[in-house]
Symmetry: C2
Amino acid sequence: MNKELIESRYRELQLHICKELELLDGKAKFEEDAWSREEGGGGFTRTITQGAIIEKGGVAFSAVHGHVSEVMRKQLDLEGETFFATGVSIVLHPIHPRHPIIHMNVRYFELNTGVYWFGGGIDLTPHYVNKEAAILFHQGLKDKCDSHHVDFFNEFKPWADRYFYLPHRNESRGIGGIFFDHKDESCGISKEQLFQFCIELGELFPKLYKQQIEFAPVSEPTEREKNWQLTRRGRYVEFNLLHDRGTKFGIYSGGRTESILMSMPPLAEWTYNFKAEAGSEEEVTLGILSSPIDWIK
Amino acid sequence: MNKELIESRYRELQLHICKELELLDGKAKFEEDAWSREEGGGGFTRTITQGAIIEKGGVAFSAVHGHVSEVMRKQLDLEGETFFATGVSIVLHPIHPRHPIIHMNVRYFELNTGVYWFGGGIDLTPHYVNKEAAILFHQGLKDKCDSHHVDFFNEFKPWADRYFYLPHRNESRGIGGIFFDHKDESCGISKEQLFQFCIELGELFPKLYKQQIEFAPVSEPTEREKNWQLTRRGRYVEFNLLHDRGTKFGIYSGGRTESILMSMPPLAEWTYNFKAEAGSEEEVTLGILSSPIDWIK
């Protein structure tokens, strides 16, 4: 199993996910933007806007290689001279405030020293938390994890809780999901099996999102719901620009800005010292985001 | 001249500026929010919304003290056990796309070791750059600098160009202004004179903004202008959350989130790979932001 195979399977995964999301949306189609970087490699960024369900979304594939820069050496604590990295990254911002924002990423990294690892995750950011939908989401991730490794879910679920967290707000970005990084065969399964796990996670992604969409009510959103969505999107921006290590590393190391920031919402709002009304649904959601929950007992 | 005097003069400065801005706006009034921090000190955050001119703005005063934490020691390269910091920070987001966003900050910092410094700056972020207005703005800053120190403008103007810069966009936040930090009597004027400079800069601020407002046209904004404003506000968010050292230090060191993020715009937009139309006013503005300009020859 070499890097060329991983690269081509990730590219296929991107196209597969886009097809599934187009079916789900039923209106908008992805547009593709090809780019390359001077130092080596490039990618295909696929974006969708103004769909029936998705307001703004991106499914990005990239495969880049080059010399290990000082920034990488320092921030990623790497040894080696050259690297190769490939992955698929997704963020979808739905139109309806009762539909959740969703994020997925699978990635593979290797150095000329022979060191390699896989990383990835899926997490859900509902504007309004629906407990049954949250359980469904976590159950889907748990089933997938369990079918590959007995410890994955127990390890990756709290990892997501730690990762998708806004310390300056004392709140989680959403209801979490799974997150993992630096996984190689020392975790107890082979490189091939780890890769297969990443591919299957990618294939699970559109199914999980479809489930969330189908679960949510479809009535016309109220002004109040729409305003709350804009505020929650503001928090999404704060997480990605202030805390997300992937975004920060990409930006500071000179990655392709438009592909990295395709995660930004179409529109976001900030109100000074916003307080949710006592007893409101908005306040209930904030309460749920204030500490990690084991959705599956 | 002790820290209590500086603190009380900065608080007066805040109130003076708010009064001037209320006169300029003619409709909205500032609301005040008092806060304190466990470790020592606190502040008064004054915010204004939905005015005739200002859509969302904040004029914050704080005076805090405490032990020099590990984060401070590392990020600010400090020696000493306890610190005191006081300052006034302002960001105003206007309603009209032809009115500029403006920012001001004056601050004072001291350590128990006797080390102290002043810092500050004013910079302007027009959604559409008007060259005559830009020259007026820089001339006002130059006159104020020149009346205090022959080198200030030549030093502080390029400092602002370096500071208010988005490397990931290859563009300046706006047309710059002045920025300075770590200034003590070694710059050639006394502590009293430096403080006087900071106070006068604060007093100049509402005059400079009034000049900008009076200079701009007052016709009803078009949809195109409003959309462009939302996009430029997105860039403002990117600068503040990804690059602004003040914001990042405040957030990562556990500062008061709402006071730090009062700089966020009311509403901001992101469009994947936005391109300004060839030959349009928007493209002209982007061209101006692509490299620093000496507005005063």
